[in-house]
Structure formats: structure tokens, C-alpha cells
């Protein structure tokens, strides 16, 4: 058996391996975190397009604040919610570069709501990768604007109550209405098929940037096992049963 395995495990038989743009740093994310999958897809797209030297990433505040430790490109680490402002300037000063922000739902939909809206409305030639797990992960699982009605978090211990907390925000639907956006889609990364599809969406977004088409916005509905207090597997099931109803997958705009 061992001999047979050695026969298969040869360099020429590799069909899938870690992107060369992912660094050797062990990601700080919890087991099963969606961030790791999407980081991988961003790295693969940049590698496959051969644009490592022409890409500048902007990381947010939140769990993915340290994204710059994992993908081997130049990065800027923004203040909470301000990534689209940084990306705006980088893109204006370097129109030939590929500029993307990587933001969570607290960063993008709450504190950075103004910056993302205006960057998208100006049609900045940037890519926005938006990870929506309906909770604040980094600070310990508090309510986010995207937290769903009834969802239990550290600051909605009895479930999100409309009277107390208002409604969950479907910011991607709002973004899709802005004329500056050329591509707005909502994806997931919980199955092999959805991972392949999300990668295609990210690829398309970067290709749009290469063609100066305006803002491409890719939401990935994800999980937060720690915040949701579920195993990674159960978190995926909960996401399918709950998140997908409020945040249905699909492309809203492709121009």
C-alpha cells in the first residue's frame, strides 16, 4: 500500500496544491473559517492572471485584518471601514494596477457603509471582496448589521429583535443599484462546486478591473463557527438553512 501511494504521490501527478502566492504563515483563523477559502481563491486568481506585481490589496479591520500575512502581494491595512477610500486613491494614482479591498460585514456594512457606497457610486475601478458571516468575529461574536432577525449573538443574547435592533441590512442589494458598479454577485464557499463558482466570480471581477469597467463587488456568504457556536460542518448547514434565505445566492448585475 505504502509503495503504491508513493507511486501516486509524485510531482507529475499533482492536480491541486497550495497557490504559490499563499505564504507559509499558518492562518490565524478558527478551524473551518470561510476567510481561509476565499484567501486561497484570491491568491489563485492573482497567480493565474500573472498580476502579482500589479496588484495592491487593502485589508480591513476585523478577522481578516492580517490578510496581508497570507497573500504575497503589496498590501495596505486600512482603518475600520475605510478600505474603499484607500483603494480609491490607489486606483486613481495607479490606474494601471489591480486594486482590491477585502472586507467583512461589520467593516463594510456598518462602520464603512459610507465609504463603500460612495466608492461604488463613483464607479472606482476596484474589486471588492465582501465576506458576510452575519456577525462580528474578531471582537467575539457581536451583532453585525447583517445579523438576521432572531439570530443570537453576544449583544443580541435573546436573538435580534427588530424593535430593539432594527432589520438586517442587505447591503449587496443596495450596492447593485449603484450605477458605478459593473458586476455584483453573491456567492458561497461551502462546497466544492460553490468554491469553483466563487473563484470564477473573483476572476471575473479582476478581469473587469483590467478592462476599467468600474466597481466589481463579490459577496461571499460565509460562516463563523466560533461566533455561531457550531462546528464547521453544522455552521455550513445553518448557513444553508438560514443565511441563504436572507441572502440568496446569485448574480445581481453583470454589465
Amino acid at each position: 500500500m505504502t509503495e503504491e501511494l508513493k507511486d501516486i504521490q509524485k510531482e507529475e501527478n499533482i492536480v491541486y496544491k497550495k497557490s504559490s502566492l499563499l505564504t507559509d504563515n499558518v492562518m490565524h483563523y478558527c478551524p473551518g473559517c470561510t476567510h481561509g477559502v476565499v484567501h486561497k481563491l484570491v491568491a489563485e486568481v492573482i497567480e493565474e492572471m500573472g498580476i502579482q506585481g500589479d496588484t495592491i490589496g487593502v485589508s480591513p479591520v476585523g478577522c481578516s485584518v492580517l490578510a496581508y500575512n497570507y497573500i504575497d502581494i503589496d498590501w495596505q491595512e486600512a482603518a475600520h471601514g475605510r478600505a474603499p477610500a484607500l483603494a480609491t486613491a490607489v486606483s486613481r494614482l495607479h490606474p494601471e494596477k489591480y486594486v482590491f479591498t477585502y472586507q467583512g460585514d461589520g467593516d463594510l456594512a456598518s462602520i464603512g457603509c459610507a465609504e463603500i457606497m460612495h466608492a461604488c457610486n463613483r464607479g472606482e475601478n476596484i474589486v471588492v471582496i465582501f465576506i458576510n458571516n452575519a456577525i462580528y468575529g474578531m471582537t467575539g461574536g457581536q451583532m453585525a448589521p447583517t445579523t438576521m432577525i432572531g439570530q443570537v449573538t453576544a449583544t443580541t443574547p435573546y436573538g435580534r429583535d427588530v424593535k430593539l435592533n432594527g432589520y438586517n441590512m442587505k447591503i449587496t442589494e443596495l450596492i447593485a443599484q449603484l450605477p458605478g458598479t459593473c458586476y455584483v454577485t453573491r456567492e458561497s464557499a461551502h462546497t466544492p462546486a460553490s468554491v469553483r463558482k466563487t473563484k470564477k466570480a473573483i476572476r471575473k471581477a479582476f478581469e473587469n478591473a483590467g478592462q476599467n469597467k468600474g466597481t466589481s463587488f463579490v459577496e461571499v456568504v460565509g460562516t463563523c463557527s466560533s461566533g455561531w457556536k457550531l462546528t464547521p460542518e453544522k455552521a455550513n448547514e445553518w448557513m444553508v438553512d438560514n443565511s441563504f434565505k436572507e441572502y440568496p445566492l446569485g448574480t445581481m448585475k453583470d454589465e
Partner: protein, 74 residues
């Protein structure tokens, strides 16, 4: 007809034992090992290596990019 055989190599020290690879595997090849890695995680390993078809489903969903997939005609 030659049978397609696959195999995976897990970067044991990077694996956090989230088990999403095991869920994604269409052939139930993967299980968490009884042993733990340096961080104390039971890591992914091939319980039924002879059934692996090298489809890479496990690697695609792996958040920590710790699975390399091989495929060959045996």
C-alpha cells in the same frame, strides 16, 4: 480500462481538524487522525486511501490550503 487512482498529502502541522474536507469527500476517504499535531488538533488523514479518486474536493474546501492532491492512472 485503467483505473484512476488518487491520493492526498495533508500538511499535518497546518491542519486545524475542521473536518470540512471529510464532509466534501464523495468517497468518505478522509477521517480525522487519532493522533494530534503540534497545536493539539486531530488532523485530516486518509482512512481509506484505496478509495481516493483524486477529485480535489477536499482541497477546494480546505480553508488552510493544507491538502495537496495527486491523481494517476494505476
Amino acid at each position: 480500462m485503467a483505473k484512476v487512482r488518487g491520493s492526498i498529502v495533508v500538511d499535518v502541522e497546518k491542519c486545524k481538524g475542521c473536518e470540512l474536507c471529510a464532509v466534501a469527500c464523495p468517497k468518505d476517504v478522509i477521517q480525522l487522525a487519532h493522533e494530534v499535531n503540534g497545536k493539539g488538533y486531530h488532523y485530516a488523514s486518509m482512512a481509506k486511501p484505496e478509495d481516493c479518486i483524486g477529485c480535489a474536493s477536499c482541497a477546494l474546501v480546505c480553508p488552510d490550503s493544507c491538502i495537496t492532491v495527486y491523481r494517476a492512472k494505476a
